[in-house]
């Protein structure tokens, strides 16, 4: 018992719990054939939350250990510049259609989710956590923080969006019919960020590359325009 008292207070234990639960979730997801609803991140969150609730551990205590992993989100966001530079040629050639589609897509994603949330009379802080839901998590967490949402709620909603985007994509593509892989990949990337990009790589490498590009563009567009437009509209 003294053992538990000592180790549950040290960052080491929660770092080990996070890494081992994630490794277990990855393995389980792989064995189940990579289903979007058994996404390793969603699975890890659920297992860790249940474990923390059962052991009566607060999130603050857990985060003392997990912050070492969380910190890497900053450099990982900066690192997104590398795949973007790899696609720089393509971006230059097709810049207008791609930029227009990302800009309008980012706008549609934010406005539609805010409108529905507003119809359901969600509290302001929850709406502000919903707004960046189509953006890759490191950016969404930063944006939510900036506009007065809950970063952790935003992170969770981003993950749910990622799972939804991958499940709806086949229907939508069937509905529209005869789409090129670059269009498919780009649409998934705008809607469902990194999780969508992982799904797009399952269609083809071309779809995956365009999805990654869409994720980067949408992230940058949302990060720069969302806080300013909310400020301008008087939401902040």
């Amino acid at each position: 018992m003294d053992f538990w008292v000592y180790f549950s207070a040290s960052p080491l234990l929660w770092l080990i719990v996070t890494l081992s639960v994630f490794a277990f979730s990855m393995e389980l997801n792989r064995r189940m054939g990579g289903s979007a609803f058994l996404h390793p991140v969603l699975l890890s969150l659920s297992i860790i939350i249940i474990f923390l609730l059962l052991t009566g551990t607060s999130y603050e205590r857990y985060f003392e250990g997990a912050q070492f992993i969380h910190f890497l989100l900053g450099p990982a966001t900066v690192a997104l510049a590398v795949p973007l530079v790899d696609h720089a040629e393509r971006i230059k050639r097709m810049w207008f259609p791609l930029f227009a589609a990302a800009l309008i897509g980012a706008g549609v994603a934010v406005v539609s989710v805010l409108l529905i949330g507003w119809l359901f009379e969600l509290p302001h802080a929850v709406l502000m956590s919903l707004a960046p839901k189509s953006v890759t998590s490191p950016i969404a967490i930063g944006v939510a923080e900036k506009i007065g949402g809950y970063p952790s709620l935003a992170a969770g909603l981003v993950l749910v969006t990622g799972a939804l985007g991958g499940s709806f994509a086949p229907w939508v593509f069937k509905l529209l019919g005869g789409l090129d892989d670059e269009v498919k990949g780009f649409a998934i990337g705008v809607t469902a960020h990194g999780m969508g990009t992982a799904y797009a790589f399952g269609i083809s490498a071309k779809a995956g590359a365009f999805s990654g590009l869409a994720m980067g563009l949408t992230g940058v567009i949302t990060a720069f325009l969302l806080p300013f437009s909310l400020e301008w509209l008087g939401f902040l």
């Binding site: 450099p75 259609p97 529905i116 981003v158 269009v183």
Partner: protein, 117 residues
Amino acid sequence: MLFLGLLILLVFQLCGEVLVMALDAPVPGPVVGMVLLFFALLIFGHVPEQLRLFSEGLLKHLSLLFVPAGVGLMVHLEYLAEYWLALVLALSVSAFITLLVVAGLLRFLMRSKEGRH
């Protein structure tokens, strides 16, 4: 010398954070860092090997990095219990519309661009 890759990322993140603070802009610092690095790499002409190795390693395990923030959902369990239906509906409808609009619009724009050639 893999840590040089990390050093480059951290320095650009710092530049981003400083710029955001100086301009009092409502944009996350790392995002500005990413844009600065993007243009720096375009000007530099290629991606240094250590930077590529470290960045690709980090991005390959990107999903792990979301776990600590995501566990924070436990703080919002009462919100989730109260609003789960509204949240799921809002996210689903929005994802569907966004996919439809982006795919339709991009196909249209790419066709009309090719049509001009």
